[in-house]
């Protein structure tokens, strides 16, 4: 016990300041009103769904929990069930074998809900999306391509994988008022 306490004290506080929101990441104008945003902003529950990634994006989602980014310190935490979630954080491309599971997870998440698509693959289908006869949807026999081909997406964070700071920024953007036209919270 003494060793543990000593090490904790020696380590000190590592947490760094979070980034601000970035409206350029928005795929859709903010749909939630100010009242709701004020509430979720203090206690956001995220359900992560891996819809077919290479697992690189997951590494950075894990890193959000480390002491430097300390996502829980911002009142944001990952939950075990979509029924407890305000937001789905989805990595992809969406494999066809995960299509039904992703839709069901989305349906199981209560309204109001937000979706953040993670990584180049989540945004566009990325490297797993062949250019083929199906045009720019990037589908194949095995992949549905980008997340928004399957469920509505509010914010998309590019990167391969996106760094934790970019992920944090995407998540914070999704729960911020935003300035894009048609924003009901303005």
């Amino acid at each position: 016990m003494y060793q543990i306490i000593k090490q904790i004290l020696k380590t000190g506080i590592k947490t760094e300041a979070p980034p601000g929101p970035d409206d350029a990441l928005r795929a859709e104008a903010q749909r939630l009103n100010k009242e709701i945003l004020r509430h979720v902003g203090r206690a956001l529950a995220i359900r992560h769904v891996d819809a077919g990634s290479c697992n690189g994006c997951e590494l950075e989602i894990h890193a959000l929990n480390n002491a430097y980014y300390n996502i829980e310190g911002l009142g944001i935490h990952f939950v075990a069930s979509p029924r407890h979630a305000d937001m789905l954080l989805v990595t992809g491309p969406v494999s066809r074998h995960m299509e039904i599971a992703l839709k069901r997870t989305y349906d199981a998440t209560p309204e109001p809900k937000l979706v953040v698509a993670v990584g180049d693959c989540g945004c566009t289908g990325g490297i797993f999306s062949p250019t083929n006869s199906l045009g720019d949807k990037g589908e194949s026999y095995a992949s549905c391509g980008k997340i928004s081909n399957v469920i509505p997406v509010d914010v998309a964070v590019p990167g391969c994988p996106p760094a934790p700071i970019a992920l944090l920024q995407g998540i914070l953007t999704a729960i911020s008022g935003g300035v894009k036209a048609g924003n009901p919270s303005e």
Partner: protein, 515 residues
């Protein structure tokens, strides 16, 4: 043919690793597999290819390892009767690989009565085989729900817990079906394939140059190992050799990848036994390493740094100092945390005897890589078949015989320490020279193999070339193929709440086997 005649009869593939390749008939195929198994060798990979365009029907390929190196067998398969001899009785790990070959290519293991599909769920009909050349990868079928026949356990008080594909934590998707009595697990059955995104089909639309990036994304946590294996395969068919400097830098990148994965898992293993302190501490160390990676090599996970012909990065004096500084920091931090883990009664109580795979079982099932070494399977490519620069480093293999979570924790600690030692040695004698040389054109119809000891175990890339530097067929093989079925055994008799801990101690790749 006697096994020891194989290397004399068939050519050794050019390149860094001791690999021989030969075409055999089905009797010889089966016979050689039996000899390898009897001699204590193992199966690395099994895949098929469509050779109709070359008027050669289909082909079934397998890679086996013996004390002298790797033997790759190619068995021509008749297009009218597409079957090959079952080898899952010799190597149980072959079962899922054979079922994947049946799904993707329509070749069947004759004599095996497990006809269940493996990688195919409900997204394309059973009559369609995506890896056949006459199938257009862009074809889309309506997705149906999958009716997969699980083995049911019956009896008084037995019930099932279905878990996944969407899991409770931040992990990859897969389905686990537990049959339990009280809290005790009687049986676990896995259903994987959820992440199948057509990687192998995609490779066939690429050139050798384009394929490097995709190879590094078969399993992102092993991107360096895959990229290196890919580079080895391409260099082998093209007859290009990386410079000593490139080889040294590759090894530094590979060891950094090993360290960051072990640090992350050691943290989670603490977390899973309610020692959140362990998670906090190890993930600080991991982040420190990732930031150094980014500053020094331009990518936190070192993606796209290893390319055919060498490496797409270099190291100057400043970068060298930065690496050494982080290694000192890690060595000290990991040392302190090891003492704390070792002395922590609560953690050790959960680690010890949990999720045990005895050496006998491990040998029988072909448990490989880091998890294999924790169960007495003393195989490590870096020590046994060392390529440059490992051939001059005298790599100390970490082994243990207890085969439980505690043993896997110990092996990880030892491997972190060894990787730190290796990187220092390499930095000490880093050769001067170019980092990247041009890769020659590859001949058509050539076969090359890359074989690298990643952090999880041996990664294999089998490459068959087409015309004009195109990829005719590429099979990336993850050691998780071997280890997933063993995980089913390791949980038997344990309690359900220990599953996350046991699972994490292996930390297998889903994407690497779903492809």
């Amino acid at each position: 043919m006697r096994l020891d005649e194989f290397p004399a009869k068939f050519p050794k593939l050019p390149g860094a690793m001791p690999i021989w390749h030969g075409t055999v008939d089905s009797t010889e195929f089966r016979n050689l597999c039996e000899q390898v198994q009897r001699g204590g060798g193992k199966l690395v990979a099994l895949w098929g290819s469509d050779e109709l365009a070359r008027d050669a029907g289909y082909a079934l390929h397998t890679s086996l390892v013996t004390a002298i190196g790797m033997l790759c067998l190619t068995l021509p398969v008749n297009a009218e009767r597409p079957s090959f001899p079952d080898i899952s009785d010799l190597f149980p790990a072959a079962n899922r690989m054979q079922r994947a070959v049946a799904d993707l290519l329509g070749l069947h293991a004759s004599g095996n009565d497990d006809h269940r599909k493996w990688l195919r769920h409900g997204s394309w009909p059973g009559s369609v085989h995506p890896l056949r050349k006459n199938f257009d990868g862009g074809t889309v079928f309506p997705t149906e729900t999958d009716a997969y026949r699980f083995v049911t356990v019956t009896g008084d008080g037995v019930h099932e817990i279905p878990v996944g594909p969407v899991h409770a934590g931040t992990i990859e998707p897969g389905h686990f079906r537990f049959s339990i009595i009280g809290e005790r697990v009687l049986k676990l059955e896995q259903r994987l394939g959820y992440k199948h995104k057509g990687i192998e089909k995609l490779f066939e639309s690429m050139t050798l140059e384009q394929g490097a990036k995709l190879a590094g994304r078969v399993s992102g946590d092993s991107t360096v190992a895959y990229a290196w294996a890919y580079a080895q395969a391409v260099e082998s068919v093209a007859g290009t050799a990386p410079t000593p400097r490139a080889a040294a830098l590759r090894a530094i990148l590979l060891e950094l990848e090993r360290i960051h994965n072990h640090l992350g898992d050691l943290g989670y293993l603490g977390n899973d036994v309610a020692l959140a302190f362990g998670f906090a501490q190890f993930w600080i160390l991991k982040e420190d390493l990732l930031r150094m990676n980014h500053e020094t090599f331009g990518h936190r996970y070192l993606m796209d740094r290893v390319v055919p012909g060498g490496v797409a990065c270099d190291l100057d004096g400043k970068g060298r100092e930065r690496i050494l500084q982080v290694l000192r920091h890690l060595e000290k931090g990991v040392g302190i945390l090891k003492d704390i883990y070792d002395e922590h009664a609560g953690a050790q109580d959960r680690f010890l005897t949990t999720g045990r795979v005895t050496p006998d079982l491990a040998a029988q099932l072909g448990l490989t890589g880091m998890a294999g070494r924790a169960s007495g399977q003393a195989w490590d490519l870096r020590a046994q078949f060392p390529c440059e620069p490992y051939d001059k480093l005298d790599v100390r293999m970490a082994t243990h015989i207890n085969g439980d979570v505690a043993a896997r924790v110990t092996v990880r600690f030892e491997e972190v320490q060894e990787s730190i030692r290796l990187i220092r040695l390499i930095l000490d004698r880093l050769p001067a020279g170019e980092c990247l040389v041009p890769v020659a054109d590859a001949p058509e119809n050539a076969f090359g193999v890359g074989w690298v000891e990643g952090w999880r175990g041996e990664i294999l890339i089998a490459l068959h070339t087409g015309k004009d530097n195109a990829i005719h067929r590429l099979h990336p093989h993850d050691p998780s193929w071997q280890n997933w079925p063993v995980l089913e055994h390791s949980i038997i008799g344990n309690i359900v709440p220990d599953f996350p801990l046991i699972n994490k101690s292996f930390n297998l790749s889903y994407t690497g086997v779903d492809l």
